[in-house]
């Protein structure tokens, strides 16, 4: 099994035109084997692009195809509206990779979803997306660096705030011959739709995920909250890596959410909280991969 998406997931790509980001990434996802059933574009309803039917609105796309996941990569100024449109069309899972959405829009969108569309899960924004290797890939992850679960061997789940470190983790595991059930990039923005705990909870409940790698970074307190959750609720082993030990306070390190405010949100504090919760913490991505290899060996 996997979490959030699998081979049955039907994806609608928002903002589909022959030159859009959505087209580029959506077609890659389709090539990977993702069940891409529709695209939307207010000016191209009724047409077809590369065999994918295009509808004017998400609502029409859902009615015609039964799409149950949306993929949004529209420019940041349109992203909030695109997310709300998908939610209003009752799409239960929305992946938004758009980077640079104003924080005010993000906070508003999050709360509109929470209040008016409680059944909808938003992944992102500013995230690489989600891949359940061998089944479904929504977003910008290169499918070939992800190893599907190997029958009879323990599979690992990944949850991460960083894109390239997510790929790094997938790659390290692949080189060690460890299969991945699902890899979720929750994104580097201050108000992510899906957080660490949402993913840890889902991995804990997924019978085929036997252990989890969690990749955090400086800023906010989500890693500390995840540590509390792991201590209280997780039976499966967790390995973590936190980026930003050398980050100076007050500077945004590339991601809008990666900023140490005063003395809050440091990598050290997060690593300590996770260690105290029984998490094995690697000092670099390679070490985290090695720790996970040990864990998998002990589970096999």
């Amino acid at each position: 099994m996997s979490i959030f998406v699998d081979q049955r997931t039907k994806v609608v790509i928002q903002g589909l035109s022959p030159s859009s980001q959505g087209f580029f990434h959506g077609m890659r996802n389709k090539e990977y084997g993702t069940n891409v059933v529709a695209g939307t574009n207010p000016k191209r309803g009724g047409t077809e692009i590369e065999g994918v039917p295009v509808f004017a609105t998400v609502k029409e796309a859902v009615e015609a195809t039964g799409a149950d996941a949306a993929f949004t990569s529209v420019p940041p100024r349109f992203a909030a509206d695109a997310i709300i449109e998908a939610a209003e069309a009752r799409v239960p899972f929305i992946v938004c990779i758009s980077e640079g959405i104003p924080a005010q829009d993000e906070a508003r969108t999050y709360n509109v979803l929470r209040r008016e569309h409680p059944g909808v899960r938003l992944l992102g924004p500013n995230c690489p997306g989600i891949i359940s290797p061998g089944k479904c890939n929504i977003g910008i992850t290169a499918g070939e660096i992800a190893l599907p679960p190997i029958p009879g061997q323990p599979a690992v789940g990944i949850v991460s705030r960083s894109g390239t470190l997510t790929y790094q983790a997938l790659f390290e595991l692949k080189q060690k011959g460890i299969g991945v059930s699902t890899c979720v990039g929750i994104g580097g923005d201050p108000v992510p739709g899906t957080n660490f705990i949402d993913c840890l909870e889902a991995f804990e409940a997924d019978p085929d995920t036997r252990a989890v790698i969690m990749i955090g970074e400086i800023g906010g307190a989500e890693e500390e909250k995840a540590a509390d959750f792991i201590k209280a609720k997780m039976t499966k082993p967790v390995v973590a890596y936190i980026a930003g030990v050398t980050a100076p306070p007050g500077k945004k390190m590339g991601h809008a959410g990666a900023i140490i405010s005063g003395s809050k949100g440091t990598a050290q504090a997060k690593m300590e909280a996770l260690s105290a919760a029984g998490v094995r913490v690697g000092l670099n991505p390679t070490e985290a991969g090695e720790l996970m290899a040990d864990v998998v060996k002990s589970l096999a």
């Binding site: 890659r28 940041p76 100024r77 640079g100 959405i101 104003p102 924080a103 005010q104 829009d105 906070a107 508003r108 709360n111 509109v112 929470r114 209040r115 910008i140 992850t141 290169a142 070939e144 660096i145 991460s160 705030r161 960083s162 894109g163 390239t164 470190l165 997510t166 790929y167 790094q168 790659f171 580097g188 201050p190 108000v191 990749i215 970074e217 400086i218 800023g219 906010g220 307190a221 989500e222 909250k225 890596y241 980026a243 930003g244 030990v245 050398t246 980050a247 100076p248 500077k251 945004k252 390190m253 590339g254 991601h255 809008a256 990666a258 990598a267 000092l283 670099n284 991505p285 390679t286």
Partner: protein, 381 residues
Amino acid sequence: MDLFEYQGKQYFARYGIPVSPGGVAQTVDEALAVAERVGYPVMVKAQVQVGGRGKAGGVKFAPDAAAAREHATNILGMDIKGHLVKRVWIEHASDIAKEYYASFTLDRGAKLHLGMLSAAGGVEIEQVAEENPEAIARIAIDPVDGLTEAACRAWVTEAHLDPEATEGAVDILMKLYRCYVEGDCDLAEINPLILTPAGQVHALDAKVSLDNSAAFRHPEWDEFSATEELDEREQLAKSKHLQYVGLDGTVGVIANGAGLAMSTCDVVNQVGGQPANFLDIGGGASADVMAAALDVINSDDNVRAIFINIFGGITRGEEVANGIVQAMDRVSIKAPIVIRLDGTNAAEGRAILAPIESDRFISKPTMLEAARTAVELAGRS
């Protein structure tokens, strides 16, 4: 983007928040002209984006022109914690009965806006939070509902401001919230918010941090970015659209992706070196972007070795390698380079790099080995 006090006050004024009459000056003569216009006594305030300027002698009271001249002369050009004072803000000095604190920011944990209000203003709010946390009245605001006047009034009552300040405070807080939301602020803070003996409430200081992601809907921000306090390297990086943060070490870092760039700095540190910078070139690694990144690193005289850390995802190893080879042709590199190329088609990429390898361009297969080599080279030269 952080604003200077004078810019923050101009921004506040757009939303009708009362501030003292004043103006900004870059020379002593300009300062005196502003002082004449607003009327003595005046305050002469250093414009720097760092706390503690009062203690450093950057804020002075001037009862007359002679004093104003003296203070402006001393403060302009002053160095406050490494920040050079290029401008002073001159404003009519206010009589102060009480000093309060007010701010709005985003509570990342609650995913709601957070308003903080305190009758104990004039000092750093972090200090109040630590020593006397119950002196801060907090309000959580759902962005969908916004701040209602009734909620604002209850909040002011809870903060135990003086009764005569209530109406003025409610009015300013409603305006400050509008400024925070419509003005796309990450932080909008007034400290101190003062009550005058005459019963007026107004903003004596302004701390505003703008959300760069919202710049597309604020053409008026252009004038702010012109005065943004960036060091030379940061300025150059910004002009080349690179995500760059200057640090103090000797190993220049280039990586694709923010997380990987942070991680690269950490690994350099772990093996005994110090990163000179954080530099994220984004997803791909075209020759243009790589050349721009190397230009920025080259401008840093502290750099003794360069560590390029690229993980190929969608951008394949051979594309990355070709970009690097082309970039090498375009820029002359002052420090030796260590490169780690991994990910999709890394082997093909490394094969492309092989012909240009030398003792000044070394390829290593893992992050740790590459970091060790870069740190060793940085220590040697």
